[in-house]
Symmetry: C3
Subunit: 339 residues, 3 copies
Amino acid sequence: MMHTARELARFLEAELEGDPEQPVRGLAGPEQATAEDLIYCEGERHRARAEASHAGTALVPTGLALTGKTLLRVEQPKLAFARAATLLVETALVARGIHPTAVIAPGARLGPGVGIGPYAVIEDKVEIGAGCEIGAHCYLGQGTWIGESCRLYPRVTIYPGARLGSRVVVHAGVVIGSDGFGYVRGPEGYWKFPQVGGVEIGNDVEIGANTTIDRGSLGTTRIQKDVKIDNLVQIAHNVEIGEHVVIAAQTGIAGSSVVERNAVIGGQVGMGDHCVVEEGAVCGSGSGILTGKKIRRGLVVWGTPARPLAEFKRQYAWFSRLPDLAARLKLLEEKLGDE
Amino acid sequence: MMHTARELARFLEAELEGDPEQPVRGLAGPEQATAEDLIYCEGERHRARAEASHAGTALVPTGLALTGKTLLRVEQPKLAFARAATLLVETALVARGIHPTAVIAPGARLGPGVGIGPYAVIEDKVEIGAGCEIGAHCYLGQGTWIGESCRLYPRVTIYPGARLGSRVVVHAGVVIGSDGFGYVRGPEGYWKFPQVGGVEIGNDVEIGANTTIDRGSLGTTRIQKDVKIDNLVQIAHNVEIGEHVVIAAQTGIAGSSVVERNAVIGGQVGMGDHCVVEEGAVCGSGSGILTGKKIRRGLVVWGTPARPLAEFKRQYAWFSRLPDLAARLKLLEEKLGDE
Amino acid sequence: MMHTARELARFLEAELEGDPEQPVRGLAGPEQATAEDLIYCEGERHRARAEASHAGTALVPTGLALTGKTLLRVEQPKLAFARAATLLVETALVARGIHPTAVIAPGARLGPGVGIGPYAVIEDKVEIGAGCEIGAHCYLGQGTWIGESCRLYPRVTIYPGARLGSRVVVHAGVVIGSDGFGYVRGPEGYWKFPQVGGVEIGNDVEIGANTTIDRGSLGTTRIQKDVKIDNLVQIAHNVEIGEHVVIAAQTGIAGSSVVERNAVIGGQVGMGDHCVVEEGAVCGSGSGILTGKKIRRGLVVWGTPARPLAEFKRQYAWFSRLPDLAARLKLLEEKLGDE
């Protein structure tokens, strides 16, 4: 896909400085870029790296001088770079056409342009929207409903009845709709609490490799639109995740918790059941949010149990000086004892 | 599956109040229930939700008044609800019959009524008991032995020689019998310590999605009957888990540790190697149990390193007041310095 | 595979005491061993177990007396035991020959002696070196390059373009080359930052079950030779892991972090992005290393935020005595208040 700096400028609504005919074929980091690559530079701090690059074209913010390159001035160079990728990077197809080895139930309905990879299994009453790509070895349980232009990488497993929106990207090894973890102790052992609810994934959600999302027990597990979930994350039954929430790797969210829109959840966070993380709150990596806890709107928390970041830092600073505090206390005791 | 309140009462040994002919077709949460659904209500606190429900039939404890519904009085409504599910909920089959695409070694032995899904691979000398369902894309390594009425969801991988009891439920993406993590450093790099032991899973065990259970190195990894394991849990080589143990998501149990019967292990717990969690002990979510540590019978522990909950809470309360303690100490120092 | 003590002694460069014709057919733990098994004993502490064993042959260090067995004296018995395993343990083949159900693109190139299991999918331009075994249900994306004598257990998924060295062992459920987790917030939602880099795995690396290794965003994710990675580990985009690094289960390493050679990373460690763990450093299990942090060469750290072990232990000891410290402070305050 050959483009020119002019075309890119138009696409990104950027201000062009330099050669409008500069060819742009791809994008790269400054060190890897060739003359026909696009790079981005967010500020003075990275200027040297950018100038040393072989890249012919660079996205820069207003006011940044960068010699020897065709410049595309924008407000947010990194954002523009991400947008440029949709033009410059051709994503490899996960599946093209219906592979003859795919096992597709007669009652499944496939939209136009759907690709199904080798050995995928599509059960009865599945509906797949136009332009979806379903990778090799995927399993779509009975009644799975998938919107348009979704991309399921190889080896995604979806239990019966799950619903995915459009443009959802699901990475390899993900399990959607597995039974939640609920048991009731009887006199002779555990009885499984019914795990018969649903799971609904909104538009533009991306789910990282080997992540697991359980179905609701009686209700529904809901992931709203534009949620981004990293690898090896666990989302339990009945959890609700609001729009534009970001969840980093290996975080676990226990049953019935609610994460409201625009919240940011770091990696390896542990959230007990029935928690609420309000809109825009940030849970630092590794923090632990106790069962039933509410994290207030916009708050940044850290630690276990999670508390406001500034508070935690102050407490932790003193933790580091505990041996010193103890020594000072001892000294006082000795002084007073001497009296 | 149409039932009546009378039938349910008999099945659950419940005391019936109201219309014995009230039809019951399913179960649901109070908000989702229709007239022909069963709900449960455990006490006063949830009475309003239950009364507002459209459900025609409710499981309630002795003494709870609930108007407008046929009541089934039992000691433990939630337990009865879970038991009712075995009558009211028809679990979707994971596999029905032997799919023609399944690759089954001639030396494998399948009991009556076994279902094998598309593209499953059953290696030589595998034995599968009556009524088992083996989902699509499952892989059963040579010599795997499986009891009766087990259910392996799609894409379960079992390494050679593993043994599973009866009524074991294994969710998608689980790996059983992978090599344990053991190496010996030599002059030029690591040598793998032999990982040639076995893995045995008892009756009525359930294993959550994408969980991994390693085989023993020289000995055997053992999961006793009625153990319930959540998603993304790691069980290392030679670990022994006693009966009725519950392990929540993302917990990791390192080599040769022992968790005795009836223990409860929260989510994201980290247990070092050679630990012992004695009978009935409870390890709170996120706690860390150091290598070789023993958690005494019935104890509830939390924190890293794990300690008795009450003790940890007391210590943690003071941690939160550390800045205050430090200020008070400073004040004393100033007072004494003034003298 | 029948051997004699003499053959083993020669292979291990061990000093033989006892019957050189003692047959050795396998290896085992002391309790499980039969007369024809080899065991090892590292010191006095384990002598009783070793002597009680039925094993006919034992690896022992210089100076350890052990009656009734043929002895092989070596400097490091456990290391010699691991080396002996290469002679005594016949690893079950993961795949033998090319299974007729494997889908292999015409443009893929397979070296001599390559085995491909049932339902594996090998895409175009894949190169697989001599003697590799590719298990059932594996997926090798376009342009994957694999060296010689690798072993991919069933159900490994490799995204397009990944490169693996020789003798790499990859366990079931591993995902290599999935997209890294990077987004840029725009006015209406998230844009995916391009994840178009590579992933390179060195010789003799072993990767545990259900672990995920993301490709680089613009650069490359690199795992050097002889790195050993346990189950359910997350390695993010652009991470670099040096030679002989060991990473225990459920650890997560965020983007662009560097772990230098010979470092040891415990289980459930969380490492932020852009960290550096210098050569030979040790990060204790469960420790948390904050974004951008550098752990100095050879240092042993623990806790969150990670700090030198001795320091952490000292601080933690006082944490445990916080209620006591507080009481002592109160006493002083009362004393001084009285004056």
